[in-house]
């Protein structure tokens, strides 16, 4: 009798300790980013910095459903096959409940196939290609910007400026070619009188002079860049060196939000002055308290000003956290369902995902953007010439052209 009572007590104690161990098990979330070349390590680093801040903030407040969050990183090197393998590993071996971090369209396109196959929620942090949305996968959610949004904004600006000829340099990726094509289609439909053509350039290229030299003889009214660093910086420097753009004749318009990269001015110097830029963040944008906290922490940890990628990455992880809270479960299917229906209040303000098939599927369709011009070397974003922004209609008359 006594023996069986002791056994029962031991059994209860063991069960209790096992339950508390399970309760304390952290929730694993996968982050697939480029941490080594040839991928954009600059972007990968920023994504990591931001999700680390959010993870620490969430865990400091007790985590989710009483459990801490654990981030498991995989280096996809910006290579689609590696991204596919990384996603497979995160889902099958690490048992993550969701994946975030994707920041290069070609990689995202490969990764979402795996996430879709395993019904695992996938938060697209920074892949702009419309094709990521057009797949119509229920597991894929897009708090990031998208190509159609940029092309629309740029087309409006180009038409308002009254330019007659545009040459775009687009990197040879799903993102670059996709955006160049959509802009071309929009220009054709809405401004058929404007000559628009694009040149595809290698994102690993170092000498773009042969593509630039013909523009010297026959300069267009505007050169558009749809490229990421470092190739974007090299193109800008060579455009400037050859006197093509920015110049008295030719505007330079960046469609990839380059100017808020931490290394922008160090790499372009005079070539960046007078550039017009489409961007997703400007200090004049209304940022909620949560966003301000993330911003302050990012400045404290890195000594850099935050940019749109920091906010997008923070929102990506917060979306997963909120979805788990809403679903009261870490079951991937329940998380997907919560993401589809919940109203989210993130670091950039409140939004809900669109339901219409196409580029707006499970996308923050009305993602806010700005257009501004850099009027001086080393100019901080807060001091730029804002030509379109929150609560401010497009005003191209504010644009300044160089004297020569």
């Amino acid at each position: 009798m006594r023996f069986s009572r002791i056994t029962a007590l031991l059994g209860i104690a063991f069960a209790a300790s096992a339950t508390s161990a399970i309760a304390a098990d952290p929730i694993a979330i996968g982050i697939s980013i480029a941490q080594s070349p040839p991928g954009s390590v600059v972007q990968g680093t920023q994504v990591k910095d931001a999700v680390e801040i959010v993870k620490d903030m969430v865990n400091a407040k007790g985590g989710v459903l009483g459990r801490q969050i654990k981030l498991i990183y995989e280096d996809n090197q910006g290579i689609p096959e590696k991204g596919r393998a990384a996603t497979e590993k995160l889902i099958t071996k690490d048992k993550v409940v969701a994946i975030a971090g994707g920041h290069q369209s070609s990689v995202c396109l490969a990764e979402i196939e795996v996430a879709h196959r395993y019904n695992t929620p996938y938060i697209n942090t920074n892949c702009w290609s419309d094709d990521v949305r057009k797949k119509g996968y229920a597991e894929v959610f897009n708090p990031a910007n998208y190509n159609t949004r940029v092309s629309e904004a740029m087309t409006n600006t180009i038409i308002a400026m009254g330019v007659k000829s545009v040459v775009a340099f687009a990197e040879n990726t799903d993102y670059g070619i996709g955006q160049a094509k959509i802009t071309g289609e929009m220009m054709k439909a809405r401004a058929p009188g404007v000559s628009y053509k694009y040149e595809t350039v290698d994102r690993a290229g170092k000498d773009f002079t042969p593509a630039i030299l013909p523009l010297r003889a026959n300069p267009p009214d505007m050169v558009v860049t749809i490229m990421l660093p470092p190739a974007a910086y090299i193109v800008m420097n060579q455009l400037y060196e050859q006197g093509v753009a920015p110049s008295a004749k030719t505007w330079l318009y960046d469609g990839s939000g380059l100017a808020d990269y931490p290394d922008f001015w160090q790499n372009v110097k005079d070539a960046g002055k007078y550039m017009i830029s489409f961007a997703l963040y400007h200090p004049q944008m209304a940022i909620p308290k949560l966003g301000q906290d993330v911003s302050a922490e990012y400045k404290k940890r890195t000594n850099n000003e935050p940019n749109r990628l920091i906010f997008q990455s923070a929102d990506s992880l917060l979306l997963i956290v909120d979805a788990i809270k809403t679903a009261k479960s870490t079951d991937p299917k329940a998380i997907v369902k919560a993401l589809q229906t919940m109203k989210f209040a993130g670091v950039r303000g409140p939004f809900q995902f669109g339901k219409e098939q196409g580029y707006g599927f499970q996308q923050w369709v009305d993602i806010p953007f700005v257009n501004y011009q850099l009027t001086d070397v080393n100019q901080p974003i807060s001091k730029t010439n804002l030509i379109q922004g929150p609560g401010q209609k497009l005003d191209v008359n504010k644009l300044v052209k160089p004297a020569k």
Partner: protein
Amino acid sequence: MLALDLLVNGLIFGLFYALMAVGLAMIFGVLKVVNFAHGEFYMIGGYAYVLISLKLGIPPWIALGLAALAGAGLGWLVERLLMRPLYAGHGSWSITKDEYAVVVTFGLSLLLINLVDKIVGPYPFLGPVLIETSRFTIGPVMLNGQKLIAAGVSLCLLIGLALFIKRSLWGRQIQAVAQNRLGASLAGIDATKTTSMVFMISGLLAALSGALLAPLINPGPDVGAFPAIKSYVIVVLGGMGSIWGGMAAALFLGVFEAFFAVYVSYAYRDAFGLLILILVLLIRPQGMFGEKGREV
């Protein structure tokens, strides 16, 4: 006028290509192995120049010299620690373990890229210019001062290298080892020392190339991949191991790529170089200036 512009820019880039490629050609000439980490010598040169001048505040011309020394030092170290097992223990004239060279240089390439990425960071840096000049025109050609200076220094280095190889005792020793390692050893030439010197020269030239181009091509950890691929094309095109062939092929490739990009297709410009490579391998495998190998 566009044609003149293309010719000048093509020649300038050809000079940069040549500076990279001759080092690779020299290593192949002496050891008959391809150094897959050659692009990373270029990257180290670019980073050394930028960091020494920007972070330590040392004048750019001195930083250029120090970057060259860093490249030479790395070359010496690589030869001493990684390449010497190729022939150590097999007699100073015998070269074996070809597969070892491929694996070890490829591994070294990945190691250096990732080391720089983790230690210095992923952000590219634009190097300081050697002389402050704004862009200017010479006739119909528009240039910036840095590009012209980099081209001038490259030309001087290539001429200097040519004279060194042709006229100096060390240069003749390099030629001898490249022609016949066993014969050179029997004639009293220290093939090991010569190999070490070749690696130092190769590292020095690649690093200088990286440093000279740092103000034009923002170096990042993977900046070496592009010039390295060009160098492989040039080395095959010019004849494996032929320094003169390498120089001529570099100028040829620089100019023809520029014209091809404008008059045929910019998108396929790099493919054009590889197409030439395939054609050369099919039609004249020894390259433009190489000699047919003879089995003995």
